[in-house]
């Protein structure tokens, strides 16, 4: 029993120390984010590459998902709501699901699976190959050069992709709706806009900023936490995915409570 307690306390100590180390990492990263403008000559290329990879290259997948989600909501929703004579509620559901709730979460999941894993793997391999150490050796702060552009890249891409998912989801909804009931595009947009509040869009976009920052920082932290061996890289990548998914869900719930309480 004593032995078990001792081990448990040691594990707790090590978890706490890693947690505080992570908090320190967040603090330094935020400090370095403010210095980004002064170092843009070096870091801007990294940022542009990150946006291209995270944002631009995800467009096809996001479009497909947006169209599919919009279409599924209409197919399922109309058949159900017509029974109660509440067909118009479909617009409210469309806005709540795509713009406010599911859109940012789905976009975040896509970014975690595509870019979060790529960031952790890339940084992990850089540590193993001593490339991070080499940056320090030439006096370049690895957080300023490697972490900050990636965080900005993920935040900007997530913000833009979510808007794109919104548009493609609503268009997908319209395409299917026009098959079910003949409806002009203007009518669809008019009905949709009466149900959509500016605050819904703002809340959705605030979520993308929070999710983007969390994914960026968690992925970078786990990548840079690799110590010596390349076998640690996939382990850290898995940890990065699980932690990012958990925090996106936690933040989503917290922001949902916050939204409904105001």
């Amino acid at each position: 029993m004593k032995e078990y307690l001792k081990k448990y306390i040691e594990r707790l100590k090590s978890s706490l120390s890693e947690f505080f180390y992570f908090l320190g990492f967040i603090k330094v990263s935020i400090q370095e984010m403010f210095l980004f403008a002064s170092r843009k000559e070096v870091s801007l290329v990294v940022l542009i590459r990150q946006i291209l990879f995270t944002g631009f290259e995800s467009l096809k997948l996001i479009t497909l998902l947006g169209l599919a989600i919009g279409a599924i909501i209409i197919i399922q929703g109309i058949s159900l709501l017509q029974n109660f004579g509440q067909s118009d509620l479909i617009y409210t559901i469309l806005v709540i699901i795509i713009t406010k709730e599911l859109g940012p979460v789905i976009t975040a999941f896509i970014i975690i699976s595509r870019s979060g894993t790529a960031i952790s793997t890339e940084l992990g391999n850089m540590v193993v190959n001593h490339e991070v150490e080499a940056l320090s050796a030439v006096g370049i702060n690895p957080i300023g050069y490697l972490v900050v552009p990636r965080i900005f890249g993920v935040v900007i891409s997530l913000f833009a992709l979510n808007l794109y998912l919104n548009v493609s989801g609503l268009i997908g909804g319209y395409i299917v709706a026009s098959f079910v009931t003949p409806l002009s595009f203007v009518d669809f947009i008019t009905k949709l806009s009466t149900k959509m509040k500016v605050m819904d869009v703002i809340m959705g976009q605030i979520k993308t900023i929070v999710f983007g920052f969390s994914i960026g920082i968690i992925s970078c932290y786990n990548g840079l936490s690799v110590n010596y061996a390349s076998t640690e890289v996939p382990q850290r990548t898995i940890k990065s995915v699980v932690t990012s998914l958990s925090w996106v869900i936690i933040f989503d719930v917290m922001l949902a409570f916050f939204t409904y309480s105001i």
Binding site: V42, H130, V138, G139
Partner: protein
């Protein structure tokens, strides 16, 4: 004796539970060519990484120009780091950048006002010295290991650092490349404002260039001497690495 620019006081370093260095005290003087020697795994690389402020010691103090290098938040540390160049045992070039971009990175970071023309001149001058001009747009993986190492050595020199650390620059490269590296190091160390600290197994380089030799054994600095004193004294009792290395010179 020159003025000390690097001072290590009671420095120890543990890797997990394994002690690499224990209670090391050493001073490196300005305008000196210092060679660090020791058996493989003796802690030579760790020692110079600690000297350069790349690795934090488990205990003790590291000062460069009197500035505590373990105080990472200090702006003075960043200022000092600009004066340091470091070439690793393995090339450690950034794999997603071309050789030219690798060399340009420290220049862009430090000399924000440097013109593109001046930067190109500096990079091409260095690449030309080691016959890598034709490979400047290639990625590190497209070069041989020796060429990568050459690129890594000249990267450490791009900003004309006052303190240059070289970790086994002659290991794993052929005789022709070795000649180029030797010429490059000799040329660089001629400058009055440079201090070179090198980890090497080359007795020729040590005897011809070094002004100070540091021998590491059993986690501590066993001997600090000069090539002249070492050769005059002959074989050193119990110091296998020194005796084997300079066998032909005693």
């Amino acid at each position: 004796m020159g003025e000390p620019i690097i001072t290590l006081e009671n420095v120890s370093f543990k890797n997990d539970n394994y002690t690499v260095l224990e209670n090391v005290n050493v001073e490196i003087e300005i305008d000196r060519f210092t060679a660090v020697i020791g058996k493989s795994g003796a802690g030579k690389s760790t020692l110079i990484k600690i000297m350069a402020g790349l690795v934090e010691p488990t205990a003790g103090n590291v000062k460069i120009y009197g500035v505590d290098m373990t105080d990472y938040d200090s702006p003075q540390v960043n200022r000092i780091k600009k004066k340091i160049g470091f070439s690793f045992q393995d090339s450690a070039l950034l794999s997603n950048l071309s050789i030219r971009e690798n060399l340009a990175l420290p220049l862009k970071y430090y000399f924000k006002n440097m013109t593109e023309k001046r930067m190109t001149e500096r990079i091409e001058e260095l690449l030309d010295k080691v016959s890598l001009l034709d490979s400047q747009f290639l990625r590190p993986a497209q070069l041989s290991f020796g060429e990568q190492k050459l690129a890594s050595i000249i990267r450490s020199m791009t900003t004309n650092p006052e303190i240059l650390f070289l970790d086994e620059p002659l290991t794993s490269i052929d005789a022709t490349l070795s000649k180029k590296v030797l010429a490059l190091i000799k040329d660089y160390s001629k400058n009055e404002w440079t201090t070179v600290i090198i980890v090497t197994h080359s007795p020729e380089l040590i005897i011809n260039e070094a002004k100070k030799i540091i021998v590491i054994e059993d986690k501590v600095i066993k001997l600090e001497t000069t090539p002249k004193e070492l050769l005059a004294g002959g074989r050193v009792d119990g110091m296998e690495i020194v005796n084997d290395m300079f066998e032909n010179y005693f």
